[in-house]
Structures are given as C-alpha cells and as structure tokens.
C-alpha cells in the first residue's frame, strides 16, 4: 500500500469514568479520504472515542493528533482553527431548536469574517440541497422535521465550512431501511466529491458494507482489529466472529463475500 497521509492519529488513549476503564492503550490511525467505520458492542466506548477525538472528552492518558495538531495541548487559537476543519453530526442532529434549519447551517459560517450575509444564506441553501433536503426545509424548525431529515440537516451543518473530517455518530440509527440506505449513499457520495475523511460510529452492518473503506473493531478496551470487510470475516476473535458471521451479518453480506 502506498504511503497515505494520516489525518487522525491516536496513541495510548486511556479513558475512564470513576473505576470503570473504557479505553486502555488504544491506538488508531485514520487516513485522508477514507471512510472509517467504528463498531463495537454496547458500552465499548464508540461514542466516547468520537468525543475524545473531537475534543469533547479529555482522555486520562495518551495523545490525540488531528491534521497534525496535538488536540490535547493546543492553545485556544490553534484549536479554533482546527475546529473549523472538522464537523460533527450527533445522533439526533443536535440542531439548535430555536433556529430554522437554514440558520442552523449558517451558525458555523458566522465565524467567517467579512462573509456577505446574502452569500451565507445562499451557501446554507446549497448545503441543505447537497444533503438532499428540499429547499423549503430551510425555513422549518427542527421540531417540524422527521428524524431522517434532522440527521440530514445535522450533516449539512457539519459540512457548513467544508471540513476535512466529519464525525458521524450512528448516522443511520432510527431510520427506515430505505432512508438508511439513502443516507449511506449520501455519505459515500459527499465523501467522494468533497474529498472528505469520514469517521463513522455505527451498529448498522448494512452501512458498514455500503459505505466504509475500512472498519475498526472496538473490543477489550482497545481497537482490536482494523481492515476491510473481507479482513473482518477472517478474524477469529469470538466477538468479531459473532458480529460479522451472526444471522444479521449473513443477511447483510452480499453472496460473493460469504466466506463459509
């Protein structure tokens, strides 16, 4: 494999809540332009890992390096610059409920000095349309949208500043299969056309198949294995085997990759 630029580099991460250790000595690399899917059982700290990288959770030990910046020890200015280069989509969109969808998407753009308000509006409309929402959805409030539309609007806000990296927390949870697969395609398409690096936490095997270039499995407090879907089918760790060979996995795996 040719040398690829590492955009997220985690070394020796340790996260704990009280006595309970969630991550210990966790290492992970994410390469530019790839879509990395993070899977793991409930309580293995997938979302905690995402929060750690995005700087919302301070690890007890270890180093987090994003786009060449040491996140944990960066000063305020550097951090702010870095934050405009990543976008986070939370599980239910986490839209500001008192603002319309368009205003939500405009929020990150307001930090740009000298950006004309009309251009900001038009750009917000463009982002809303890029994530596949109707033009008129821009005037609606989050409470007037369905769950799938809120997720799309959340993605539009995460993409507002053309970030290098987007973090997606369970993007397809709670969506119907048609909505979920449309969302998978959306992520894939946007990642391709905008050159995005995507860090995606999910439970959804279909999403892993449809979108991810590489999969990282969280188990035993660390990243147990990383690799493509085909690699995952070879792993003989009991949990990983169960996950990728269970009845649901078999339903999700297309015939050609069915190993056994």
């Amino acid at each position: 494999m040719t040398e690829r630029e590492v955009v997220i580099k985690l070394r020796g991460i340790r996260n704990q809540f009280g006595r309970q250790v969630v991550h210990e000595d966790l290492d992970l690399d994410v390469y530019r332009g790839e879509i990395l899917g993070v899977v793991g059982g409930s309580g293995t700290g997938k979302s905690v890992l995402l929060r750690t990288i995005a700087g919302l959770q301070k690890p007890a030990a270890g180093s987090v390096d994003v786009l060449g910046t040491d996140v944990l020890n960066a000063d305020e200015d550097t951090r702010q610059k870095l934050e405009s280069r990543w976008g986070v989509m939370f599980q239910d969109g986490a839209l500001f409920s008192s603002l319309t969808v368009r205003e939500n998407v405009e929020v990150p753009m307001r930090a740009i000095p000298g950006l004309d308000p009309q251009i900001r509006r038009d750009l917000a409309d463009l982002k809303i349309s890029m994530v596949g929402l109707q033009y008129l959805a821009g005037d609606k409030y989050p409470s007037e949208l369905s769950g799938g539309m809120r997720k799309r609007a959340g993605l539009a806000r995460a993409l507002a500043l053309d970030p290098d990296i987007v973090f997606l927390d369970e993007p397809t949870a709670g969506l119907d299969p048609i909505g979920a697969s449309a969302f998978d395609q959306l992520i894939r398409g946007l990642s391709h056309s905008l050159g995005l690096t995507v860090f995606l936490v999910t439970h959804d095997l279909d999403t892993l198949h449809a979108t991810c270039d590489r999969i990282a499995v969280l188990a035993e407090r660390k990243v147990l294995v990383t690799g493509s879907m085909a690699d995952m089918l070879e792993v003989d760790h009991p949990w990983v085997h169960e996950y990728f060979h269970g009845p649901r996995a078999r339903a999700a795996v297309p015939d050609k990759t069915k190993g056994d």
Binding site: L67, M130, Y135, S143, D164
Partner: protein, 375 residues
C-alpha cells in the same frame, strides 16, 4: 486541497485571449471578495476563467463560479478552464446540487389577511375554552363513575397528590399570607393614623384578607406551583407515549391521572385558603400590636364584633372553583405536549400563565356577583 488558507485570492483581468486568471484560495474565507470582483468583470470581454493557479477551492468558491457562469448568471456561458480533477468534480457536484428556490409561502400583509389571522386567533381561543370545558366534563364524568364503581378509584394516588399539592404547600402559603398581613397592618396604620382611626386597621386586615387576598394569593401560588407540576408530569408521560400505553392497556387517563390530581386540589385548596386566612390575621395582629399597640385581646374583640362571618364564607366559597380551574388547566396543558422537549417547556409555562389569569378573572366575576347580591 491543502490546509493553507493564508494564500490570498487574486484575479487578473481578461488578457488578449479573453482569459481571466484566478489565483490563490477561492474558499468561504475569500468568496465575498472573489464574487464581487468576478461580478465587476466586463462580461463581453471575457471568454474563459482559468483556475490553474487556484490553490484551494471549496464548495463556497465553486458555488460562486457556478452561479455566475450558469444560464441567467452575469457571466453566462463563459468557460471554466484549468480545473484539476478534484476541482472539476467539485464544480460538478455543486452544479448538480444547486437548489431551485421555490417561493416561500408569501406573508400576506393586506387587511383581509390580518382579519383572517385575527379571526383564526379568536376561533382558536374559543376552541381552547371548549377544550377546557371538555376536560372539566371528563373530570366530572370520571368522578361520577368513581362514585358508582369505587373499586376503580385510586385512593392511594389521591392521598399522594393531597400531600404534594396541599401539605407541601403549607409553609410557602402560610409565610406568604403572614407577610401580606404584616404589610396590610403596616400600610393601613400609617394611613389610618392620620384620621386617628387606628383601630379600624383590624377591619381593614380582616376584610381584605378573609374576603379577597387570602384565597386569591393562595390560588395564585398554587397555580404557579401545582399547575406547572401537573403539566410537567402529564406532559412528560405524554412525551414518552406512556399515556398511549395506558390507553392500550385499558387504563383511562381521565380516571388514573386527572381525577386524583384535580380532586386533591379540590380538597386541599380550601384548607390552604383557611391556613392562609389564619396566618394573615396572625401577621396583621402582630404588626398591629407592635406598631399601633392594639393588644391581641383587643384585636380579637374587634375582629369578632366588626367582621361578619359572611366575609369568610365569601372568601372560601371561591376556593373549590379556583381549584377546578387550576387543575383542569394543568391537566389539559399536559395533554397538549407533543413529542419534543420544547413543547413540554412551552406548555408548562402556558399552563401557569393561563391558570393565574383564569383565577384572577374568576375572582373578578365573583366580586361582581357578590356585590350584586349584596353580601
């Protein structure tokens, strides 16, 4: 796309071949200037726009190029040259995603539209009153049913709510009434002293507290305390679909949620009113003693001689009505909560405002009524 956003945007006007050369970063940081400069170009002299020196292009920059060069744009039909594969695909993506602005529903400012909105407001206000009446009806119907089928009645729940809305409200209600009594005595004494009519301060305190203030202020405090609690409790159950679950299990929300709550308020509000009356009189008597030297014995004598019992009756007879208003408003608002947290907050504050307003309106109606029949 490199991360360096230090590179400034540059534009070289059309050369002999009609090519405009752009350079540097064409991103959201520079798009405002870039767009202005591109708009200022003389469209007739430009053949193509060359991007080969652009170091960074993002969707904002691509948007500016696409909107200006597509049909009906200022630079319509002008070719974009020198775009790398990434930039070309970005331009294509943006081109495809360009929204078609549909006209938003127009805000009609005419008089007819205003009248229409006004009419709708009035209509929804009337519907709200109708809904409140319906909830009162549900309460009375379920209460009658509980009398016929006592086994369906939730006694434990009633006792629990009596404690919540009654017993736990005693300290705040008593303190409030005590302070009102003190204030009345103090203010009354300074005014009445001018006429040498200090002793009438007893009548002032007694009549105002027994007839109006004791029960009205108690009802207002309870409205703030209990209407919000009812709305929050029922509303959060509604939000989590517990009410629907109850219905599917054959449990009637009216019988299980409304009756114990409203009935508890119905029982406890007169008692709280009585406590408020006593505390108010006590506060007034204390202040009258300290400030005017009216001894407790004298206060009592004057109170018994000068104040008709009808004042107490006039005051307390209002309590059950206030209780029904507060309870029905609180329960109704709780049932209007939708599946989001904002509506819970909105309905809770609505319930408090509506309950307090309705209590004051009802008090005014009572005042007119009693004045007419001459009590």
């Amino acid at each position: 796309m490199t991360g360096a956003d230090a590179a400034e945007f540059g534009l070289k006007p059309a050369d002999d071949t009609g090519t405009v050369h752009l350079s540097g970063a064409l991103t959201i940081q520079t798009v405002t200037t870039a767009r202005r400069q591109l708009q200022a170009l003389d469209a007739s002299a430009v053949q193509r726009i060359d991007l080969s020196a652009v170091t960074r292009l993002d969707t904002a920059g691509a948007w500016a190029l696409v909107t200006l060069t597509r049909s009906a744009g200022l630079l319509e039909g002008i070719e974009i040259a020198g775009a790398g594969t990434e930039a070309a695909s970005l331009l294509q993506t943006v081109e495809r995603a360009l929204p078609n602005p549909e006209a938003p529903p127009r805000h009609d400012g005419s008089f007819a539209a205003w009248l229409n909105r006004f009419g709708q407001r009035v209509y929804s206000g009337l519907m709200f009153l109708r809904a409140l009446t319906a909830y009162l009806g549900i309460f009375l119907h379920r209460l009658a049913r509980a009398l016929r089928h006592p086994s369906e009645f939730k006694l434990t729940s009633l006792v629990h709510h009596c404690e919540e809305v009654g017993l736990k409200a005693v300290p705040i209600v008593a303190l409030m009434a005590f302070l009102i009594g003190v204030v009345l005595a103090f203010q009354g004494s300074t005014q009445l002293r001018q006429f040498g009519a200090e002793v009438f301060v007893v009548d002032l305190i007694a009549i105002s507290i027994l007839r109006e203030l004791g029960i009205l202020l108690t009802a207002i405090i309870v409205a703030g305390r209990t209407a919000s609690a009812f709305t929050a409790a029922i509303g959060s159950m509604k939000m989590r679909e517990e009410i629907d679950a109850m219905r599917t299990l054959g449990l009637d929300p009216g019988m299980n949620l409304f009756v114990p709550r409203i009935l508890a308020l119905f029982i406890m509000l007169p008692i709280l009113g009585l406590i408020a009356n006593l505390a108010g009189l006590f506060g007034g008597a204390l202040m009258a003693w300290i400030d005017l030297g009216i001894s407790p014995a004298m206060f009592t004598t004057r109170l018994v001689e000068g104040t008709a019992v009808s004042h107490v009756f006039v005051g307390l007879v209002k309590a059950p009505v206030f209780a029904l208003i507060i309870g029905v408003v609180g329960c109704h608002a709780g049932m209007q909560v939708q599946s989001n947290a904002e509506s819970l907050g909105r309905m809770t504050s609505n319930a408090v405002v509506t309950a307090i307003f309705a209590v004051i309106v009802a008090d005014a109606v009572f005042s007119i009524f009693f004045a007419r029949i001459g009590i």
